[in-house]
């Protein structure tokens, strides 16, 4: 059922069994997983069912460090969250992403890819993509035109992406969520504080407010914050009445290790026999099910001490006319930024892109990097002194990339260039910013994928992580974080599918906890 909290007139606490805060990809996925389970689920969403400028403004914040998209427009604040405009690129993390790597400080998760796999399968259904299969040979068998570059598979592999329609969770699942007997969706309920018991070991209630001045207490047995990496950190830090440094922040970790995927034009590939290379085409304008990006095998990542990253191809004739998204996505209003990006790039090239990858044979390709950012404690979300309309301190983001991140890109391209040379298919050219290995500067075109990760990172050790392997905040028995804020490292892929999988894993854990400790409502 749906309750608009602006019309709610009560001073009593609203009680349930499970309280999920945030109705984006993670929160809605978890709510659907709890349908018909016999427990009362409170799903709190700060916005309504459509864009509202006043609500969106709650996400505004200051930024320092590496140039980034305005915080206000980097996430959407209404039912469905950022899936309301996501691109739908889905892939899975690699086994190496979970491992401790001695050349990547702070790397290593307390879980493995195998732990996530069953939940990836379920996540596939939610984002409406094909079989849980990311093997190049499988996809080649489905389409003879998907030919791969003839590169040594012990060094280079095809990182397969599948394309979600993209599923707009707000539209797709609204009726399902609001029609569920045990799911109580409260819109216009912005959580601004988390209150615990005296010893700060258990949450007693969360306080929600809205713009018409009403506030409510929501009480539950378990609380899951699924508000995105910036907002998850913000609410923990702002809940500082009982824990002066913020909840879960005894070791000054909340908000730190904020990660993005640095995305940047990095070079060119020139091949001697012009080809379409349809396998590497982005799903823009035709009905592709998959796309490959060029990845580096685990063995080579270890040997060359690389960060995990991929290289994607675009026909040079198109790419050279495209503006960097960091320039087009510069408005505070996400609708304007989206439109600017569409107008500058996507609409202008869509038809040509279709033609170039499907009909035309290309000799030159732009090489575009998406790479993990090495976890960095100085890359962080903190609280600003300025408050929002509901009295909550705004978020302040300092995105800090390192020279090591940049050098990893260079090594990636040297290895790729070597393999292209060995294969005899062409040659690789690096862009100017990569030519001097000692040059620490990043080009002004450097952007990100709107992939916010890592502010409540996962670790079994409270001194190195905010949440444990089950996403429970260390030391607070009924408080959990969901989504990519729990990522210890970011891998090379767009995080949506993985954050849903991780959330479904948390969901199963909570189901087990609930059944152990509480009987369902008949």
């Amino acid at each position: 059922m749906h309750i608009d909290a602006r019309e709610l007139d009560t001073t009593d606490s609203i009680e349930g069994d499970l309280c999920i805060i945030g109705a984006g990809a993670a929160g809605i996925s978890m709510a659907i997983d709890w349908m018909n389970k016999g427990y009362k689920v409170l799903l709190l969403e700060g916005g309504g069912f459509k864009y509202d400028e006043k609500i969106q403004d709650l996400y505004a914040g200051k930024q320092t460090g590496q140039r980034y998209y305005p915080l206000k427009s980097a996430r959407l604040h209404y039912f469905g969250g950022t899936t309301n405009h996501w691109a739908g690129m889905c892939s899975i993390l690699d086994p190496i992403d979970f491992k401790k790597r001695d050349w990547v400080p702070y790397s290593g998760w307390p879980i493995t890819l195998e732990d996530l796999k069953p939940y990836y399968v379920k996540a596939h259904e939610l984002v409406e993509i094909g079989p849980f299969n990311y093997d190049i040979d499988f996809w080649k068998s489905t389409d003879k035109e998907l030919t791969e570059l003839p590169l040594d598979r012990t060094v280079i592999f095809n990182k397969i992406y599948q394309f979600s329609p993209p599923t707009r969770f707000g539209e797709k699942y609204r009726d399902k969520v609001t029609g569920a007997r045990n799911i109580h969706l409260y819109t216009h309920a912005n959580v601004v504080d988390i209150r615990t018991n005296e010893s700060v070991t258990s949450v007693e209630y969360v306080l929600a407010k809205n713009h018409i001045g009403r506030s409510f207490r929501f009480k539950a047995k378990y609380y899951v914050f699924a508000c995105c990496a910036v907002q998850n950190a913000r609410i923990l830090l702002a809940s500082n009445k009982q824990a002066p440094r913020g909840l879960g922040n005894d070791h000054d970790l909340v908000g730190r290790y904020w990660m993005e995927h640095p995305e940047v034009k990095s070079g060119e590939l020139w091949i001697n026999h012009p080809d379409r290379l349809k396998l590497y085409a982005y799903n823009d304008g035709y009905n592709a099910k998959v796309r490959s990006e060029i990845g580096i095998t685990e063995a080579m990542q270890v040997e060359h001490k690389l960060l995990n990253g991929t290289i994607s191809l675009s026909p040079l004739d198109i790419a050279k006319n495209m503006k960097p998204i960091i320039e087009t996505w510069s408005k505070d209003d996400p609708r304007e930024s989206y439109q600017n990006t569409e107008d500058a790039n996507i609409r202008a090239v869509r038809k040509k892109w279709l033609y170039m990858f499907n009909e035309h044979k290309n000799q030159g390709f732009e090489l575009f990097t998406r790479i993990e950012q090495s976890p960095n404690p100085d890359s962080r979300v903190t609280l600003d002194t300025e408050t929002d309309a509901l009295g909550m301190p705004r978020a302040k983001l300092h995105w800090a990339l390192t020279q090591a991140d940049k050098q990893a890109i260079r090594r990636l391209y040297l290895l790729f260039g070597q393999q292209v040379g060995i294969s005899g298919i062409g040659r690789v050219k690096l862009m100017d910013f990569l030519q001097d290995e000692n040059d620490p500067a990043w080009p002004s075109s450097t952007g990100g994928g709107w992939h916010h990760m890592g502010t409540t990172r996962m670790s079994d050790d409270p001194q190195t992580g905010v949440v444990d392997k089950n996403c429970q905040v260390h030391g607070i028995q009924n408080l959990y974080m969901a989504g990519s804020s729990c990522f210890a490292t970011g891998g090379a892929v767009n995080p949506t599918l993985s954050l849903i999988a991780l959330t479904l894993r948390l969901s199963e854990h909570l189901d087990s906890q609930m059944k152990t400790n509480y009987k369902p409502i008949p």
């Binding site: 070597q418 292209v420 100017d432």
Partner: protein, 134 residues
């Protein structure tokens, strides 16, 4: 760089006059264009791009800025006895193909003007540039 669509012609009479200069190595004279013409790169790029690579290489390695030095380095191991040469039947084109492949395999590559190149093909670009000047 403009898209490469032509086959390199002689770079001028200066080059033709210089070819005799290469005569100190066996079997080279008749195929000397292979020395200064990085065959694979000439498929991918035009003359000006090759010259730019050549200039960048010479800037990075000023000690090699002479025809004799470049020629010597490019032809190193082209003495009739190297494995690469035996495997390629003495053809200088095949020799270079094999040598460049071997250099990539061994990581004997350099970034010149942004291009990830084998050292030999980078030197070929340099020789092309030097010959063009002379």
């Amino acid at each position: 760089m403009t898209r490469r669509s032509f086959v390199f012609t002689m770079v001028g009479t200066a080059v033709a006059a210089t070819l005799a200069y290469f005569g100190c190595k066996r079997q080279v004279t008749s195929q000397s264009s292979a020395l200064y013409l990085p065959h694979f790169l000439s498929i991918l790029m035009d003359k000006s791009a090759i010259e730019e690579i050549g200039k960048s290489y010479l800037k990075k390695h000023p000690e090699e800025n002479s025809i004799e030095k470049l020629k010597s380095n490019i032809l190193s191991s082209f003495d009739g006895n190297s494995l690469a040469q035996k495997e390629t039947g003495g053809s200088i084109d095949k020799f270079f193909e094999s040598k460049i492949l071997s250099e990539f395999r061994n990581g004997n590559q350099e970034v010149i003007d942004g291009w990830v190149l084998s050292v030999t093909e980078a030197r070929q670009c340099a020789l092309f540039t030097v010959l063009n000047k002379s």
